[in-house]
Amino acid sequence: MLFANRGQLARRRTRATSSPAFAGSQSNGDRLALLRRHKPDHWLIVLCAILLATGLMVIYSISPALAQTSGVSGSYYVERQILAIVLAAIAFFVTASIPLERWRRSYKLLLGFAILATLVAIALPVNPNYPAHRWVRLGSLSFESVDLLIFALLIWAANFLAIRLKNGTINNFKKTAYPLLIVMLVVGFVVAVTQSDLGSTGVIVVMLGLMAYVAGLPLKRIFIFGGIIALGTFLAIIATPYRRARLETFLHPDTNCQTTGYQACQSIIAVGSGGFTGLGLGSSVQAYGYLPEADNDSIFAIFAEKFGFIGSALLLLVFGALFYRIAKIGERAPDDFSRLIVFGVLIWISVETVINIGAMIGLLPLKGITLPFVSYGGTSVVFFATSMGLVYQISRYGSHVGPDRDRLKLMERISGNDYSGHRRRFGGAHNPGFGGRGRTKEA
């Protein structure tokens, strides 16, 4: 039994060693022993597909309304979204198959592209309908530069923090906290001020801050960060009239329904009028021009109007399941870099989800942030798929080891895993499946 396992481990070790993803990244032999390629977490694909299909269905069902209010043909939005999903699928599998180590090495290139794209977006003349310098337009293609920037910063920060961890300088203010702070300030200035995109700035700052937090940056530093961020946000809101108006709107939604609070009012009306069971797939009224950005930022409200409490609660559950899977993959990630990557992706997706849904149900101010995988829009779908591709790749190499795990139980789990058919329905050999059966067993 033990031998058999050992043999298995040995075989896997060779595979893992030959895997370029982790070649040279680990020096510890014990560690390598646990690095073996296994089945990836297919739940990621299933959950993302559910979200994409949900978004596509809503976009399809409101496309007559979108066509009526924007004057394009009825199939325009659906065709564009299908194209985005195809591109996203390609991006997902390409990202998943390019070894992580290569991603890690190319962070400078990615950052270079992201900075270039941001500069181009700032330099390009703006569309009068969206008077913000956020878009890079190449012929008929266009994308939001900030999504590329977040992706590049994700890889940069994971690498930066992993190196600091390895060198033991994570607590060194000058070497760790200081550069992070500089990056946050620069990005904050460029994205929030020049591109007027406070929402994305928030996502970036929270992502970098929390990555630093899980990497073990002392809490004192985190508090300093938090204080600076709070001050920066406060200044950003005070300095721009439309942000002040949005905050005012958020605090007193009902009194501003006809003016600045129009979208906030209409979104909660859409959600509330859905009731328990919803108006039905084809029966959204708010999409007919009442609720702005019905296909995009406001898609959750339209979904809630159509499918009611039951539907929206289920959608929350799907998001919850996705976060759970990503968090689990993060916990089992084989090294600091990949763990930080997975956790960064989790923060990116979950923060955008929370900001978006929170605004739609009147708990947060409107921020112009899309709902991951559900909202219409190629850039967001493609970049979330790309980041999920990284997570998917890492899910192949997950170990079940945590610092709090008892060795014997770990071994039991590893060996038992090979024989328990029910755990193999989906995904990794080390998957406890939904509900964490493994944990109850070990408790």
Binding site: D30, V214, V271, G272, G275, S312, F343, V354, I357, I361
Partner: protein, 595 residues
């Protein structure tokens, strides 16, 4: 041998990841609770809020009844409807004003740059770009599928005959309500009942697919109105007024041709006039007035026909009676005189009172009504004459014709305590100190000519309901015994005599073919100063008369406001217009000659 189960050196804190995961779980639970609150507990509130935005109520306008006339047995419309469209923009939705302006000008013409302002105006969601688009143009705009453009249909009145009977017809204002004339008076019948549509709509008001909330009530179209007007007479009358307005240097001409036996108006016109299709461009709103019914004046000596009728009716005078005319009466210390050309004090008769238009003669008639054979005015005569003016001839009150803004005029009350009541009433006997409309005058004299029945003057022959049912407007008798039936035949030759006297006096245009009877009476009325008293150089000219074969067929009244032509306003301002109208009626064959 490496220990395969050794702890990983990963220093990224799983505890901290779990803290974040736990936070996410908490947020998702809060979101779910919030959703439950918004969608289940507060469902009623938000569904009402949604409905109050989404459920819109529309009036479906009823199509307005047509206005028609009978022409040789056929019904011919003179006022029709045409659905025209207003093009409006919702500027925030207009992405490229330049391009859209070009598209619009390709469809409706005009310079693209003239539309750009309305397309890009800030702070409104409704900006009118152009009015009165045709249905074809409206459909072409709809084909652009621009969410910022819309058209709104509205029925507009169309007038195939231009300004024909403009002031009689009135117009329909941009709220769809009749204003002035028939359109105002018959608005309830013409307008019909609007329908209603309650529907869930898009934000721009386009009703969405049928839902439980959608209800619709069909509109009921208005009745069609067939007028009594004779379109031929009306057209020619308008031409005559336009011409004579210039030749008599008038400030306003009104005339009516009426059938005295049923009160049907055959023609009614004023000059100057306007084209109701362009009512919105008319700057002088007085052009909308139908002065024939809404502009009472002191009529002057035309009133003597009614004074004579009343006096004949009560036997105060006889048609061939003579009397001595002292050429002036002193009443309440005031001289009532005739004009010098009439030859001063001498024997006169009833015919010469009318032919020479003797004010002293009219005053004498009032004296005879007071006490036969005497030359004083007393309360008895005043009461009788007041009764005739107000109750028999129905002066000083609206006739009830189907016209907006009909005026009532003024008859002084028979207040015997008034120290100058005698003078006041002597004046009314020759048409001063009393104000009446042309219609009141002609309707009153009609009742004398037709044998004593006062028919309410009317413009409506019949109403045709949307189902095709014809409701004939029967002549409405307002007063049965205005005068005895013998008075008309006595008055007719007296009025014929007036025409002959003028012909002999050199008014050659008063020469009519001998197989027709034509009678009349001039009126030259002093115009009251607003401050009291009368102008001594400004007069209104009036004329009342009839034309027929064996008996009078039509009565014609003319009011000429302040004609500047030299000579007496009645003789030179009113009379030639009357003559032109009668010649036209005879020459065009509208009058059946004597057999």
């Amino acid at each position: 041998m490496a220990n395969p189960t050794g702890p990983l050196p990963a220093s990224v804190s799983i505890a901290r990841i779990r803290l974040w995961s736990g936070l996410l779980v908490a947020v998702i639970i809060i979101f779910a609770l919030r959703l439950f609150y918004v969608q289940v507990i507060r469902y009623g509130h938000y569904s009402q809020a949604a409905l109050s935005d989404q459920l819109k109520q529309y009036q479906i306008p009823a199509s307005r009844g047509l206005i028609e006339v009978k022409e040789s047995g056929n019904i011919v419309p003179i006022v029709l409807n045409q659905r025209l469209y207003t093009l409006f923009a919702d500027p925030p939705f207009i992405k490229k004003p330049q391009t859209v302006a070009k598209q619009i000008s390709q469809i409706i013409g005009g310079n693209p740059s003239s539309y750009i302002h309305a397309l890009s105006i800030k702070g409104t969601q409704y900006s009118v770009i152009a009015n009165k688009l045709t249905q074809t143009q409206s459909k072409a705009i709809a084909k652009l599928q621009d969410p910022g453009l819309g058209t709104q249909g509205q029925d507009f009145r169309v007038y195939p005959n231009g300004d024909l009977a403009a002031q009689v017809l009135g117009f329909v204002n941009n709220q769809g309500i009749g204003d002035y004339g028939l359109e105002q008076a018959l608005n309830p019948q013409l307008a019909g009942k609007p329908g209603m549509l309650k529907a869930i709509t898009s934000v721009t008001g386009v009703p969405l697919a049928a839902s439980r909330q959608n209800t619709q009530i069909q509109p009921v179209p208005g009745d069609n109105v067939v007028l009594t007007l004779n379109i031929g007479i009306q057209q020619q009358l308008q031409q005559i007024l336009a011409r004579d307005y210039k030749t008599t240097k008038s400030q306003g001409l009104s005339a009516i041709v009426i059938n005295p036996y049923n009160g049907h108006i055959k023609a009614m016109a004023n000059y100057p006039t306007y084209n109701p299709a362009n009512y919105a461009n008319v700057t002088n709103s007085r052009l909308f007035d139908n002065n024939a019914v809404d502009y009472p004046i002191e009529p002057g000596s035309v009133m003597k026909t009614l004074t004579t009728s009343a006096a004949l009716n009560i036997g105060a005078i006889k048609p061939n009676e003579t009397f001595y005319d002292p050429a002036h009466w002193v009443i309440n210390g005031f001289n009532i005189t005739d004009i010098k050309q009439d030859g001063g004090a001498r024997e006169q008769n009833i015919a010469s009172i009318l032919a020479l238009s003797l004010n002293t003669g009219a005053t004498w008639m009032l004296m005879q009504m007071s006490q036969k054979g005497n030359t004083v005015i007393n309360g008895n005569g005043i009461k009788i004459w007041h009764n005739y003016m107000v109750n028999h001839f129905r002066l000083g009150q609206p006739t009830g014709i189907e016209q907006g803004y009909e005026a009532s005029g003024y008859v002084p009350p028979a207040n015997l305590n008034d120290p100058s009541i005698n003078l006041r009433y002597a004046n009314t006997a020759f048409g001063q100190g009393v104000s009446i409309t042309a219609l009141q005058l002609v309707a009153a004299l009609s009742s004398v000519i037709n044998g004593g029945t006062y028919y309410q003057p009317t413009l409506v022959n019949e109403l045709i309901t949307p189902t095709g049912k014809v409701e004939v407007n029967r002549p409405k008798v307002l007063e049965r015994n205005v005068v005895k039936s013998s008075v008309g035949p006595e008055l007719i030759p007296l009025m014929e005599n007036v025409v002959k006297a003028y012909l002999h006096g050199g008014f050659s245009f008063m020469n009519f073919p001998s197989n027709y009877i034509v009678g009349g009476k001039t009126g030259t009325a002093q115009v009251a100063r607003p401050t009291g008293g009368y102008y001594n150089n400004i007069f209104n000219g009036s004329y009342i008369g009839f034309v027929g074969g064996n008996k009078p067929q039509y009565l014609v009244v003319v009011y000429n406001i302040k004609p500047a032509i030299p000579g007496y306003a009645g003789s030179f301002g009113g009379q030639p217009v009357f003559a032109d109208i009668v010649h036209m009626l005879i020459n065009e064959g509208y009058i059946t000659p004597k057999n």
